[in-house]
């Protein structure tokens, strides 16, 4: 086919006439076609994104049990108001926040440092860059199982190490702070490399000339990082903060698997909102209440992301005004 096509005589050059006006059918297609090309995405989104979202909102207004899904009892906003008076919900909200901070902040700081190092010219750079992504490629189940062993109270490696330097064994499962640190460690381990690669990509879009100019002005590597890299990375950092915030709000797998309890420990000490949702829905089978929690989480994320955007816009406006 290609051979035949390439052997075909070249078309005679056209006269420099104005291009023919497209027919009405073509014009209609031209206006419609973008929508048609986008349609598959939006169809799928409607089926697997929008519909569940709306259906969840619908379910959240009823009392529904998993074992008897046929009997739906209208509750109005009852499921939501019940959450306001639900001590476990507030505990979960607080845990989600503290674990979110404990995991996101060190994670992003370490990712920045790691990306800065990976940006140097050195041997095996590609290998190292791929290697930092390995924790992300590991399944959360496998990773947390290993960490659960490490953080064991009686036979864990971490406590063994602490013992060597004379610190009493820590009960990583039952202590409130200890358990949250353990959960955060897994999150940090899994996501630092991922964020580092994103930062690295951002760093590479910063023009070399800026560094050269800074070097010529006598700026050290450290100052270059602060005065060239960081400002250049601002949009990337904003992106990672938003993504990490969403991830932290939905945190579920790590706490569930690390200690193997859907109630987040004996006194809910590391129960996140995600876990609480799961406990209500699939531990106690109260689907209506679980749906209400899901919606509260959704709204929470919208608010958090909105706040982020607001702060970012105010900052960039300030910059522009400077």
């Amino acid at each position: 086919m290609t051979l035949a096509a390439s052997q075909a005589p070249p078309a005679p050059p056209r006269a420099a006439a104005p291009p023919p006006r497209p027919g009405p059918a073509r014009r209609a297609w031209r206006t419609v076609s973008p929508y048609a090309y986008l349609a598959p995405f939006f169809t799928l989104f409607a089926a697997f994104g929008l519909f569940p979202l709306l259906y969840t909102a619908f379910v959240s207004l009823y009392r529904v049990e998993l074992q008897t899904p046929g009997d739906m009892e209208w509750r109005g906003l009852g499921n939501y108001t019940a959450l306001l008076g639900d001590a476990y919900f507030w505990v979960a909200l607080r845990n989600t926040f503290t674990i979110g901070v404990l995991s996101t902040v060190p994670q992003l700081v370490m990712a920045l440092g790691l990306a800065h190092l990976l940006n140097y010219r050195m041997r095996g750079r590609t290998f190292l860059r791929t290697a930092v992504l390995l924790p992300y490629a590991t399944s959360v189940a496998a990773a947390t199982l290993v960490f659960a062993q490490l953080f064991g109270r009686d036979f864990g490696l971490v406590n063994y190490g602490l013992g060597l330097i004379g610190i009493d064994p820590v009960d990583w499962q039952n202590g409130t702070v200890a358990s949250q640190i353990a959960v955060s460690t897994v999150v940090i381990w899994r996501w630092t490399g991922y964020n580092a690669l994103i930062y690295l990509a951002g760093m590479q879009s910063i023009p070399d000339e800026l560094y050269e100019a800074a070097a010529m002005d006598g700026a050290s590597r450290w100052r270059q990082f602060f005065h060239v890299t960081l400002p250049g990375l601002r949009p990337t950092i904003l992106f990672t903060v938003v993504v990490s915030t969403i991830g932290a709000t939905q945190l579920f797998g790590e706490p569930l698997l690390l200690e193997g309890s859907i109630s987040g420990g004996i006194s809910h000490q590391y129960q996140t909102l995600g876990l609480y949702l799961y406990e209500q829905g699939w531990g106690f089978f109260h689907l209506g209440r679980a749906a209400a929690i899901a919606w509260v989480m959704f709204l929470l994320i919208v608010v958090l992301v909105g706040l982020n955007a607001l702060i970012a816009r105010r900052r960039s406006r300030k910059e522009a005004g400077r």
């Binding site: 998993l66 074992q67 008897t68 899904p69 639900d86 001590a87 476990y88 095996g124 750079r125 590609t126 290998f127 860059r129 791929t130 290697a131 992504l133 390995l134 490629a137 590991t138 399944s139 189940a141 496998a142 990773a143 659960a148 062993q149 064991g152 109270r153 009686d154 036979f155 009960d171 499962q173 039952n174 200690e259 193997g260 309890s261 859907i262 109630s263 004996i266 006194s267 209500q280 699939w282 531990g283 106690f284 089978f285 109260h286 209440r289």
Partner: protein, 434 residues
């Protein structure tokens, strides 16, 4: 020059890719896609269980496959029953991903019989009515639905005893003879008293009992009415028997007798091999679990004695066939065979799961177990099974028990005051029942 550099780069990339691949392969879940129902009448029966039913270990699957050429049995197993039940409920609600045979714990059978009868096969369809007199009446009645449907066949019951490490007892200067011990701990107070003596002399970090959770579970197993009364009313808050079990558990926790472990957790499993505790309340099915976790090294160190405070029952299970199963007829044939007296007898001798079939109970009366220092387990568990109360089963038994156990663990591990823990338990149960 450029060529070698490019080659180096390629090699580095390749290395990275290979490393990633290896890691992914190592972490990937073992999904076995096809259930392999080929031609020629070949059937794969899937069995989904929790804890340790011990069929595979006792060689029963292998024998069934030999007796029925063309049948392959595939078993999946979740250690923690609470996890198992969650996932089973989700799959039942969705109607997909169900095995041909599903195990049901006795604490859940009321929920199956009262709320979910339409999701499981009525085994009368396959002639299960004929099996009724094989089983203890209470066992049979619990799995019977409102319309007389037979929703599951009983596998085992959980007569209770106390397993202990005779070697650790000896080191602490306690008597090791099971008869003598049974006398000394005729009551729970006697048992805790002995525990305090043990603690005073015990070598190293060996606790008296694995967890107060298991202590509570075994004590509540001695009661006829626990969370509900016979009319189905919630009574747990005012139930004096429950309160007694609670108080004893609190005392054990506050006297520091417990190794503070979570039952069914990895740490708990490790503690069997490490010998972190000297006694563990053991329903008959626990024997197989101890053997599995403590391994060959524990052989002859363990022993079994009668339970303080009289006979009781903890656990025991059923095998059921969900409506959405693929091979219902074959599944029924399998569970009928597995729960027949002969197989129940063999399962007890190999794994310790005590038979629920009436014919099998006499057959095992003389059984002894070499792993447990030759303890007459047939007699100990047989006596307990005969004397155990017929329990009132409620829909939310298991969930309520979980909340109470959690609260007790707070006393045990965080030093929470019993009053606060009790109110936490109340809050937890309210939250559960919603």
């Amino acid at each position: 020059m450029t060529v070698t550099r490019a080659a180096k780069r390629t090699a580095a990339r390749l290395g990275a890719v290979v490393l990633t691949g290896a890691l992914l392969a190592a972490c990937g879940s073992s999904t076995d896609g096809a259930s392999g129902d080929g031609a020629g009448g070949e059937v794969t029966i899937t069995v989904d269980l929790f804890g340790s039913f011990g069929y595979k270990e006792a060689g029963l699957y292998a024998e069934y496959e030999k007796l029925h050429p063309g049948v392959t049995i595939k078993q999946t197993d979740t250690e923690d029953e609470a996890d198992y039940w969650k996932s089973l409920q989700t799959r039942l609600a969705g109607g997909g991903g169900l095995a041909d045979v599903q195990g049901i714990e006795v604490g859940r059978i009321a929920s199956v019989a009262k709320e979910q009868a339409e999701r499981f096969e009525d085994l009368r369809k396959y002639g299960a009515d004929a099996l009724e007199e094989q089983f203890a009446p209470a066992k049979w009645a619990a799995a019977t639905g409102g319309g007389g449907e037979v929703l599951g066949l009983g596998t085992d019951v959980g007569p209770e005893a106390l397993c202990y490490r005779a070697d650790l007892f000896k080191q602490a200067g306690l008597p090791t003879d099971r008869e003598e011990l049974a006398k000394k701990w005729a009551t729970w107070d006697g048992y805790l008293e002995l525990g305090k003596q043990y603690k005073a002399k015990a070598p190293g970090k060996h606790a008296w009992i694995d967890s107060v959770g298991s202590l509570y579970s075994i004590m509540i197993g001695q009661e006829k009415e626990r969370y509900y009364d016979a009319s189905g009313k919630l009574i747990w808050q005012d139930n004096p028997a429950l309160r007694t079990a609670w108080d004893h558990s609190v005392e054990a926790a506050r006297s520091g007798l417990s190794a503070k472990l979570d039952q069914w957790s990895p740490q708990w499993n490790q503690a069997f091999a490490a010998g972190s505790f000297a006694t563990i309340p053991c329903p008959a099915w626990m024997l197989g679990y101890i053997k599995g976790q403590a391994g060959d090294a524990g052989k002859g160190k363990w022993d079994v004695a009668a339970l303080p405070g009289g006979a009781g029952n903890w656990g025991g299970s059923y095998l059921a066939v969900p409506k959405a199963a693929r091979h219902k007829k074959e599944a029924y044939e399998l569970i009928k065979w597995l729960t027949a007296p002969e197989q129940q007898t063999r399962l007890f001798e190999k794994q310790g799961n005590f038979p629920s079939a009436t014919g099998a109970i006499e057959k095992v009366a003389g059984a002894k177990d070499a792993y447990f220092s030759g303890a007459p387990i047939g007699k100990i568990f047989g006596d307990a099974a005969k004397a155990a109360p017929v329990q009132v089963l409620g829909v939310h038994d298991q969930n309520i028990a979980q909340q109470i156990t959690n609260a007790l663990s707070e006393v045990e591990r965080k030093g929470t005051s019993p009053e606060e823990a009790w109110s936490n338990a109340k809050k937890g149960v309210e939250n559960t029942l919603g």
